[in-house]
Amino acid sequence: MTDAEKLTLLRDLLLDEDRNFANKILEKVDTLTDTVNIDEKLSQKVEPIISRKLTSFVEEIPVKLGPTITEALSEQIKNSQDEVVNILFPLLGKMIKKYIQSEMKTLSDNINAQINQKLSFKYWYRKIMSFFSGVSEIDFVLADMAKSKILQLFIIEKGSGLIIARYSNTDTIDEDLLAGMLTAIKSFVEDAFIKGDQNLELIEYELYKIYLQNFPTYYISAVISGKFDAVFKNRVENDLFDFANKHIKKNIGNKQYIEQKLKEYFINA
């Protein structure tokens, strides 16, 4: 077999996988449509992502998998498609994870739109500041973004997704539903795509990131704006462990107490 032939064969195999995969995505898109009720908009958003990801996936094959594949190919490809699928599976798994994340993103576009509306004084603040200072609006946006900050914090019971306690300075999203959805997504992603004792740690969307930290019976989810780098992550992680030790451990049923402590923590932060 020439290299070109091998590549064609491989591409066929991959596209087969992709087709199944695309079907799955389509099913999920259906749910989202159901959930968010904006059929056309949603599929317009998701379809380009799918084709973009597929393209970049196909482009990445020769670079990332070239050596491994060529070796396996010459041996196995004729009568053993499973082998190839096995090699590719870890990569596909990662892609799927990314999709889930980007779906979350689409879903949350809606939520964001709500937040933006409610927080529109910020928009005006920026406009006015930029008018008077001559600094471009976008710089203000960037400066805003750079400040890493926890906007909302939920302590959520594992499994049920019920809120044990919360801190929030915005009042726009229905927190019960967000907590439930997060829990569903988290466990879905964890049992479908992540093996071993890894956890879904971060869901990104737009300017926000939702950081998830696990404890035995609950997890803490922090909605963060700004840059989420290793330094900030470390700080958040330590703070949350600290907080859990001091205040949650012995007071798990005492919502009022935990929320009071959360408030104090945020005032002092």
Binding site: T31, D34, K158, S160, G161, L162, D176, L177, M181, A184
Partner: protein, 162 residues
């Protein structure tokens, strides 16, 4: 005191889980069938005497077999509503096995069984069929007409407060 409880509707595809929830939460109905994929979560607060309870309702995809459901969707559930379609034998023929499965795997939870789409079949006829199959049925409902829908959720909420 305000408390929240997770409840889940289970049963085969297309038996009317989403429709019952929609009737209960939004008091509306549609003849269109939109398959639920994964899970969709809604909530409603109900008042019982002097108590208030928020039901966090998980509307999950239908499966012909409880064992095929993603267990993570069912964790932490306080109440189950097992729904079947009174017009389709295949959705209730395994009812007692399904009830058994829930009772052994999720003890300490509340479970109600519901024969839905009762508007499509003569009730007396169905009651005879149910006797034949020895079905344990707590409620007969119709998401379309709204019959008993409110009652089912309210009774479940009452059980959860006890």
């Amino acid at each position: 005191m305000l408390s929240s409880k997770k409840i889940v509707l289970v049963g085969h595809f297309g038996v009317g889980k989403s429709s019952l929830i929609r009737r209960f939460v939004k008091n509306s109905f549609s003849d269109d069938y939109l398959v639920t994929v994964g899970v969709h979560i809604v909530k409603k607060t109900v008042h019982i005497d002097n108590d208030e309870i928020t039901l966090i309702i998980w509307d999950i995809e239908g499966k012909e077999d409880m064992q095929k459901l993603r267990p993570s969707f069912l964790l932490g559930t306080s109440g189950f509503i097992y729904v079947f379609d009174a017009t389709r034998e295949s959705t209730y023929i395994n009812l007692s096995d399904e009830i058994n499965y829930i009772e052994t795997h999720y003890p300490k939870t509340n479970l109600l069984t519901v024969a839905n789409k009762i508007d499509l079949i003569e009730k007396n006829i169905f009651i005879k069929i149910a006797e034949n199959y020895k079905l344990k049925i707590d409620y007969y409902s119709s998401a379309k007409t709204g019959e008993n829908v409110e009652l089912i959720f309210n009774d479940l909420a009452k059980n959860l407060i006890k």
